[in-house]
């Protein structure tokens, strides 16, 4: 199945693109997609543990099963800082 993957912030820069189509096995979960990205882009390892993922614009858990046509966004921690 194909899903549409969106990258933001530091991930977008690291991957050199903001969006791509990705082919995944039927029944693949959010965790599987992260594993696939991790394998391809080892350079930004530290980001993976602090990330959030949105599926069709809602925050999703690692175990969530993806479906054909889903929009999956990989979200680094948001522009915060508590220093305002």
């Amino acid at each position: 199945m194909r899903v549409r993957v969106l990258y933001f912030g530091v991930l977008k820069d690291a991957f050199g693109r903001g969006v791509e189509e990705m082919e995944l096995a039927e029944g693949a979960s959010v965790a599987d997609l992260i594993a696939a990205c991790r394998g391809r882009y080892a350079g930004v390892r530290e980001i993976w543990d602090s990330m959030a993922v949105a599926v069709n614009q809602e925050y999703a858990r690692a175990e969530m099963v993806l479906r054909e046509g889903d929009e999956v966004a990989l979200l680094p921690p948001v522009s915060g800082g508590f220093d305002w």
Partner: protein, 151 residues
């Protein structure tokens, strides 16, 4: 409820003036502006980007929740994207309420929660380089790893 993501200058004074109504006793404003440095490193400008549709939806949710939680009358929540220079407003939060306590609390809760949960990022351009600002960790209920794998 005025909730917006804009690429234009935020008309802070106008938004504050518009929100006021006869039954209000307090208007609390948070005006988040671009600082000229981060930990002493001189900032030239910031570039804000967002997962725009989701960010707007999350901001609407926060505005509704603020009204429900704190009993305030009205909320305006506006975030700007793109390139902002020192002193410009990146986020404006205005809360109108009959009493000041609720207005202060709602305003504080809104900015703190927005900065942890709304998908907007900033890249800081310094004289000598650029970095994506370190974000706060996502709350457990949002982080993809979930509470059992945090820490």
């Amino acid at each position: 409820m005025r909730v917006e993501i804009t690429d234009e200058v935020i008309a802070a004074e106008e938004i504050v003036a518009e929100i006021k109504a006869g039954e209000d006793g307090a208007v609390c404003v948070f005006d988040g502006i671009v600082r000229n440095n981060t930990r002493g490193r001189k900032t030239l400008y910031l570039d804000y980007e967002a997962y725009r549709e989701m960010a707007l939806e999350k901001m609407r949710g926060l505005a509704d929740e603020a009204v429900e939680r704190f009993g305030v009358r009205e909320v305006a929540l506006v975030h700007r994207l793109g390139r902002l220079v020192v002193g410009e407003t990146s986020v404006l939060i205005v809360v109108a309420s009959a009493h000041r306590g609720a207005a202060f609390e709602a305003c504080r809760w809104l900015i703190d929660t927005l900065k942890k949960t709304v998908p907007i990022w900033k890249k800081e351009q310094f004289v000598d380089g650029a970095i994506w600002a370190d974000g706060e960790p996502f709350p457990d209920e949002i982080a993809v790893a979930g509470p059992e794998r945090q820490g």
